[in-house]
Subunit: 334 residues, 2 copies
DNA sequence: TTGAAAGCGCTAACAC
DNA sequence: GTGTTAGCGCTTTCAA
């Protein structure tokens, strides 16, 4: 298992090991034939550059720390997929950390990543407190926040125009003839406040009454959506459509509606937000608002690279446009 | 952004930097009060150990390379989640790489990980050729294969008892009264051969006729299951149940059946394999065979640690037992 | 108990 | 063009 080092190759080639280093790094300061001979020899001897040694002297690891609440979550996983592919295409590798359920762990992994000397950190916040939680490290390493809208915090982030998403979704429902649209979901984080705002704005423009159903202690899980929807359906149904603030909640609503014998979209139209993979499944076919996950990940990586490689100071708020994905859970009223 | 180093702390403390190192590493060779004073100082100065320097001298990075076909795939993502949590609990970090669609990329990322000096590699193979594909690196670094059954290849791996899975699934269908069970899926990889074998064995014991429907060029995607199922449903339906070799295929079959107006489980019972997250969704509720993903990931990490930390030679084949998850797509025949 | 110093494998500045 | 050499920040002998 002993690794071949530069020295070994140098000895075999009868040159100094600096020469080997030059040959490999494509330095112009070296003879053509020497280079070819050495490159060939390295190949034969199975030499591979030791990145940790290189990182040591270059003071750059070409490592990006990726922090997500839980990679076992299709939204995070999609972002991670594109981020890794894009990072690797630019010579970076990804160090993955789940920030878990509590803020403590989120802080811990960020610290850990710092010790690992990552060149930058890409973080999908756990929630609204994340910014405060890791603020102390923000000036120790380039950081880009991903997916959570931090409004005008002095930090770089890439997010979807959440407000616009609910705005176009609400208008779509209106065009289908709906006049009583219930907004279902929490509003604690900035992201969720913005989603609610888009709905409110559309209602104002359209002259619709605003109706909310939510709990301060709710989470964006299917189970939670289901529980809340069960409560909701106990009451009189004085609306024809529900705008769920997340797809997961929408899925929970769907389950509760099915149990209750409420036909979607026959008696009730339903629209979600995020366009997670599950929504396109047969039998689900949930109409929703797409967050451009690929673009978000790629742009976040680009933004981080810009900070790392060009030392870009200050911050950028990159807001991408969401789009409506029409499927089968919304119907036109006569 | 300048980092505080051991030297800085040493200077501030008026001791040599070896002493600081000792204080931090919990060496017994140091005075109690000196240690306390130094630890406190490190804290105040915001010192964090530089892992790359440490890795350099210790010749150990505490890094595990995790290679998955695509993290944007709930099966891989679940494994990754548990692997990362477990690894971190033992002081390791995860370097994540998607091995993408082709073998070339898989090989590339393994080489890359080697250059990064990872202590070990956990790999979820792309397919049956993976073993050959990366065999050359198997003696350069500890490797554990995850999820794919390599039968008796001389490599360590953790997999589900695939044959047992289809065996119990087939028996379950039999108990429900089904006598004509169609096996739907590919059989190229060892894993898939084993799944087919379990079905065959159950059929023999139970005196059932074996029926197969598959294509050599099939993949385990929903789209592919759907396409194949459309062809299948063109023919006469002389079976009452389908055993799909993967959940994704089962989901595709479900879609094709819905389109064709075939009622599941009314006219046709359906069972899948893997128990991916999607199967538990409302309206889907697919009966399936669970692969114990959490155990698989945790045990794979343990196995890798054993190789890394104890220099365990040879190989182990760890086979975990799958279990039946009864949901709503199988019905009892009268 | 503490300090001095070697060295991990590499890059880059400086000679020649 | 190529060789020599000084570190990068740390751990770990070896001395004291």
């Amino acid at each position: 298992m002993k690794n071949v080092t530069l020295k070994d190759v140098a000895k075999a080639a009868g040159v100094s090991y600096a020469t080997v280093s030059r040959a490999l790094s494509g330095s112009p300061q070296i003879g053509r034939e020497t280079r070819e001979r050495i490159v060939k020899l390295c190949d034969e001897m199975g030499y591979t550059t030791n990145y940790v040694a290189r990182s040591m002297v270059k003071k750059k690891t070409d490592l990006i720390g990726l922090v997500v609440p839980s990679i076992d979550n299709s939204f995070d996983a999609e972002l991670a997929y594109y981020a890794e592919m894009s990072a690797r295409a630019h010579g970076y590798n990804i160090m993955l950390c789940n920030s878990g359920p509590d803020l403590q762990q989120e802080k811990t992994v960020v610290k850990l990543l710092l010790g690992r000397q990552v060149d930058g950190i890409l973080i999908v916040p756990q929630g609204p407190q994340t910014y405060e939680n890791i603020r102390a490290y923000a000036d120790q390493v380039p950081i880009v926040f991903l997916s959570e809208n931090l409004r005008d915090q002095p930090q770089s982030y890439v997010a979807t125009d959440n407000s616009h998403g609910t705005y176009i979704g609400t208008r779509y429902l209106y065009e289908l003839g709906h006049r009583d649209i219930l907004y279902f979901g929490r509003r604690q984080s900035t992201t969720h406040q913005l989603r609610a705002e888009g709905y409110i704005r559309a209602c104002r423009e359209l002259g619709l009454e605003q109706r909310f159903f939510n709990s301060d202690f709710s989470s964006s899980s299917i189970a939670n959506g289901y529980q809340l929807a069960r409560e909701l359906f106990e009451r009189e149904m004085d609306y024809t459509a529900i705008f769920a603030s997340t797809d997961s909640n929408a899925l929970g609503i769907m389950k509760a509606a099915d149990e209750r014998g409420i036909d979607i979209p026959g008696q009730l139209s339903l629209i979600g937000f995020d366009n997670i993979q599950m929504t396109s499944l047969p039998r689900i076919e949930l109409t929703t608002i797409e967050q451009p996950k690929r673009d978000m990940a790629v742009q976040a990586v680009d933004m981080l690279r810009d900070k790392i490689e060009n030392g870009r100071q200050g911050y950028i708020h990159q807001i991408l446009l969401p789009s409506l994905v029409k499927r089968s859970t919304c119907r036109a009223l006569d």
